[in-house]
Symmetry: C2
Subunit: 276 residues, 2 copies
């Protein structure tokens, strides 16, 4: 049991989770996974919880629940762990559903390596465990193989058969290994002091430079388009702030935007969003 | 009401949410926010839900719940929306708690601009609404100002007073504005075909290059350290896969790692993880 952080209520399910006995070796799938607060999920109840959080029963997330469970069950007790996810697809939600680590609290980090793998590690030492899907073992599970390697169109896949194979394959298609996170990847950097941007007037971390990154050419919005098109919010409940015409950093991307994308550690560069 | 996507049990709370009347103009804070499935939260019950998901009652997340509510209440009905968050701190969790958009399902994207703002937008047209904290209005709320601009050490802040000011300030410190997301920032890119990496043997998106990004020098792990230190997983429940000695992409960062960090759109570069 690894349960160090404060908090939590379980992700709710639309029907109550039946109490489950502790998993016995002869019935390895009785418990599919466990939340850090101790709630146990069977394969079926976890699918329901996945629907509740993720919107649909994504196979990668159902499998991800088992991956998180394998890592957290094997971690030594008593450590305060962080999570690292090697893909932004599905798997981060398994971590957010089952561990105390979320994107917003900073205990979960996504590295867009595109590998279907995650690691839980001691946040002070960086020692931890990584669980990956072992693609080399998928020959015995054709539905999983077809889904994972996209060998068939989604419409041609048998979703029920895929889920059943995930349930039966269980830990047999996973690989567990010890890892040591690089020291420079440990810890949380403070955003440091904030200041108001001279161009858009919004607050931003002073170390990003003389103006905010949006005004440096990295705004995800087009300048003035929304107001120009006349589409205004439908009656805000309490319009304390008038709808502004202010720019929100909509300067066109500068020719050297890609250059500015480097220099993450230097402070003023623009790190890329999660994309694989 | 904007409620388009399937799904969805509420984030559970440790005590049941009391039914609330629809917010009346004279009691603007009766409803602090609402989940996409229709569950209403008062300020107090939302704090509990925040503790359940995020681990602690982070002020930024409590405020974030109100920001999501302001945006979602003002969106025209009947649209299928995605979310964009301009910071990785706290705010993404408000989006994940109250909307169908999560990191793992790809409907939430984090742009590390360091501005305390979020946008919900029509996923097909890019039209949407942005809500930001209006830092220029914080003079009336010294506890919020001290927290947001880090004018005091955390230990010297009065957490109760801060929460009370957030509750009382309500929408008065928020700014709502229409936005148009850039066309190139719309839509979800497929990872494309996968292949096995010739170096580490793991599957990865073929478009990343001849080997996976980890083996291109972007592994977050040190080579061989964990096994060298003799720290092996404590008794995996079903050790279907032997603990491997395989590398997991632990090649040292190459001198040109920063160069490789560019070229996101080109395919083989290594986009940065979310960091501000």
């Amino acid at each position: 049991m690894v349960l160090r952080r404060p908090g939590n209520a379980p992700i709710a399910m639309s029907r109550p989770l039946k109490p489950l006995a502790v998993a016995m070796p002869e019935s390895p799938s009785a418990v599919w996974c466990r939340r850090h607060t101790g709630e146990l999920y069977s394969f079926e109840t976890f699918i329901e919880a996945v629907r509740g959080f993720h919107g649909h029963a994504a196979p990668g997330l159902v499998l991800g629940g088992r991956m998180v469970h394998l890592a957290s069950s094997a971690l030594p007790s008593g450590i305060l762990y962080d999570a690292l996810c090697e893909t932004a697809n599905c798997l981060p939600d398994a971590i957010q559903m089952l561990t105390p680590c979320t994107i917003g609290n900073g205990w979960l980090r996504v590295e867009p390596l595109g590998r279907f793998a995650l690691a839980l590690f001691d946040k002070s030492t960086g020692r931890g465990l990584r669980v990956a899907l072992d693609a080399g073992r998928l020959d015995a599970w054709p539905a999983i193989k077809a889904w994972f390697f996209k060998l068939k169109d989604k419409a041609d896949q048998d979703a029920g058969r895929l889920m059943e194979q995930i349930r039966l394959a269980d830990d047999g298609i996973l690989r567990l290994q010890p890892i040591q996170v690089r020291p420079d990847a440990l810890g949380k950097r403070s955003l440091g002091p904030r200041r108001l941007c001279a161009e858009c007037g919004e607050s931003y971390p002073a170390r990003h430079g003389p103006t905010c990154r949006a005004c440096q050419g990295h705004s995800p919005y087009l300048a003035g388009q929304a107001t120009a098109a006349g589409w205004h919010p439908a009656r805000p409940r309490r319009p304390a702030a008038a709808l502004p015409e202010d720019p929100v950093g909509e300067h066109p991307i500068s020719p050297d935007a890609d250059e500015a994308g480097r220099g993450l550690e230097g402070g003023s560069g623009h790190p890329r969003p999660i994309r694989e």
